[in-house]
Assembly symmetry: C2
Homo-oligomer: 473 residues x 2
């Protein structure tokens, strides 16, 4: 086996790290918990950024850049927030050979800085809404790290908005959650469960947190993105006011929302297989690898080159005319998750055709060179749809229902996946279920709840909500 | 005066800060020396990034992301480098509520991290060249700061490459300097002097530093970008080796090169005037502002809207149909440096025409609506060319020649600008000239030196080079 990856059925975790290393997505650095994103991994991130940024701008958002540091006194302003983040921040205490008079925290998230800025620039309802976003890196000092999924530094975007009314802020919170959902589906080919986080699991300092929770191939959840509603609590705390349409002084209503490089981890764990990475076409750095067959024969390389030239403005194409064998190349581009490969040899040229091979199904499609562009487009869409359907099937097959405590424990122990179960609303039950199962937590209260029973699966008291539960990365 | 900016002739420094604030490019934050880049300023940066990134990729470079932190022990590996940077770095000493066993420096530049990574991934000549770049923020603890020009944190790109031979590395060093030069000219409309830094002024740890030095409107220089050649010294130090074509173990040759958000400062100070910012069309977030005249009259807003719709896919256009007066709008878009405004009123509509007004010259151009796109393109190009010519004239007029020490001091005191003068090659003369003039330093040894005299302008010993001298930001 050229690719030489641990099988996911043998050791999912080893399979994952094999892929991130062998597909050259990242490398470890001498800074504990920080990673190097290598060109191939970063190119995926650039495609993700491009797709998301277009969506943000189409909905009126503007990019800005805030400082990397937050003074300790400023961080202290939001008690719940600081309680949530203080244990995992990095502190700068010396600068320019001198001890600083005040510690500076390396931003774990930037609500604080946005609030400080908004306090200065918001005066009238005419200044609202403020729809800012930033692309940057943030630092959270993690004890146990895993490439892309949990690292002490990671890349992300964080949107921070201010609105005239609570309704508008809530609309924005939902708009961005649904933007993520649409992006996951149409760009990453990843289905997910969406809903509201419980009080226990919500963002430190938010009124409500909404989340998108895709399921990895092994049934484990990944918190894939969150959108928070803050009400006007932070605005009051930071003294952010505006003169309203009725000439009274009011506080604006706030949201924030973010997704990060952990999406690359989701792509790997949702779509990957034992031959390596499988990339959804919309974010694949190479969408199509052209591999000449019997390339020493006259005309083959010329034809391969001509195809490359005619396709490269339309798709992200690579022509591999190195001396490696076709078989070696097939393995190589499978490992890298290239959605389609195009094989062209002497016989194909004679028949004015070529072969497209799908990465996901290995299906071979013989297509005429006369309509190649259209056929490639169709095949890329087919790969996207195929990936989505396969992931949706996995999500459905690994979602179970528990109506009793015993059933819940049994599923948690024996069936990796999500568990749908009723819940009384008490965080004590979340704690108990987590302890009893060794880590199953509430993922979210879905927007469309089902009525599975009348009582909480844990304590038997009247149920308030249906909740998705699961283990997480 | 609506714009209410200090005149640049009265107080250039105040004029500058008035513009950055009133054009809403940036805001101060509570973190000393760090700035907030506001949407309009960040949009300029995004256009700069886009133009540069295209050029980097066209020359085979790949983007990556390296960690934000550098462990102290790793930083110590390059003695000259650490001596240059240690006085101005910020140190993280605590993380996750614990004192760290080793201090981490917040990256002031990333040569060290790239070398550590290259040591792991370079093995054969087949692995070369490595052409990596990253877009990120870096931190240098500055005592005196000024928006965009000098701040404790700034955004930049840093390219770090490794090559098989010294010649190839030197070619790369020059290629990227010339890429910057071409970018400054064709995108920013800024002419500049280019050449080599003296030993005293070169990058800490480099063998040679090449620089691009545009002149601001007031005759002061700005180091606009640098490209460094490292030889194989760092590679030896970091144990980076590869098996060469002749099967011997060799060390690769290294370069690095970078430009930063200070380019936004250069744009302001090269092109701006007493009415505000003047943006070169290629990086202007708004290239064309459509301003309806007598917009209450029937048909005017409809026509303005139709023009907006037909132009927006081709140019970055804004239609301002607010209730503010046209005069107020004119001032507003002048302040923001929008290269062209388009006025359209009832009479224009009757005559199937509109008026284009250039920001730089205020020249009015009456154009037929039948060929509007072409006329706008022409006018934008004319603004670009006009800005470049004006800046080139300034650069030429403010470049003086000194052949004696007295002449040098006289020019330094009375004529703001660059001084061309011969130099013996001794850094003691650089020190003496700097002290005697209160800050005039060597800018660079230009690629095309002129022979102005036989002796050093300072000590009278035989001259080795012609040098450009000047004050700097």
């Amino acid at each position: 086996m050229v690719n030489d990856i641990t099988s996911m059925d043998v050791d999912f975790s080893k399979w994952y790290t094999d892929i991130v290393k062998k597909a050259e997505l990242m490398d470890y650095s001498s800074v504990k918990g920080c990673m190097i994103i290598e060109p191939y991994g970063y190119a995926i991130w650039e495609n993700i950024q491009h797709e998301l940024d277009d969506r943000f701008k189409a909905t009126g958002h503007q990019n800005v850049y805030m400082p990397l540091f937050i003074p300790e006194s400023l961080l202290q302003k939001e008690k719940d927030h600081v309680k949530g983040f203080a244990p995992e921040v990095a502190w700068v205490t010396e600068g320019g050979s001198e001890k600083l008079s005040e510690r500076l925290c390396v931003r774990p998230t930037s609500e604080i800085l946005f609030c400080e800025h908004y306090q200065k620039i918001i005066n009238s309802y005419r200044d609202l809404p403020k729809l800012y976003n930033q692309w940057c890196s943030v630092v959270r000092w993690e004890k146990t790290t895993r490439p892309f999924l949990r690292s002490s530094e990671f890349l992300w975007q964080e949107g921070h908005t201010m609105h005239e009314t609570a309704e508008e802020a809530m609309e924005e919170t939902m708009r961005m959650l649904h933007t993520y959902e649409e992006f996951y589906k149409n760009v990453l080919a990843i289905p997910a469960v969406t809903g509201q986080k419980t009080e226990k699991e919500k963002f430190a300092g938010a009124v409500a947190t909404y989340t998108i929770e895709p399921m990895m191939h092994n049934g484990v959840a990944l918190q894939g993105g969150t959108s928070h509603y803050f009400g006007d609590g932070w605005a009051k705390n930071f003294g952010i006011t505006f003169t309203g349409r009725d000439n009274t002084l009011q506080h604006p209503h706030q949201t924030s929302w973010g997704v990060s490089t952990r999406m690359i981890g989701a792509i790997i764990m949702v779509h990957g297989d034992d031959n390596g990475l499988v990339l959804p076409p919309k974010v694949a750095p190479i969408q199509l690898a052209i591999i000449p067959i019997a390339q020493h024969k006259p005309g083959v390389l010329d034809k391969a080159n001509a195809l490359y030239e005619s396709l490269k403005t339309k798709f992200r194409v690579k022509l591999d005319d190195t001396d490696n064998s076709p078989g070696w190349k097939f393995s190589q581009y499978e490992m890298q998750g290239v959605p389609l490969r195009l094989e062209i040899g002497p016989k194909d040229i004679e028949q004015n055709q070529c072969v497209l091979v799908r990465r996901d199904t290995r299906e071979k499609i013989f297509v005429s060179l006369d309509n190649l562009e259209g056929e490639i487009e169709k095949a890329l869409q087919a790969v996207h749809d195929g990936l989505y359907e396969r992931a949706l099937k996995n999500l459905k097959e690994k979602t179970f229902t528990a109506t009793t405590y015993e059933e819940f424990l049994d599923i948690a122990e024996n069936k990796p996946g999500f568990i749908k179960a009723m819940w009384c609303g008490d965080s004590a039950c979340e704690d108990k279920l987590k302890d009893a199962t060794g880590g199953v937590k509430s993922r979210c209260i879905p927007f469309k709840e089902e009525h599975l029973s009348d009582v909480c699966v844990c304590c038997g008291k009247p149920a308030k909500h249906m909740v998705y539960w699961g283990r997480q990365y």
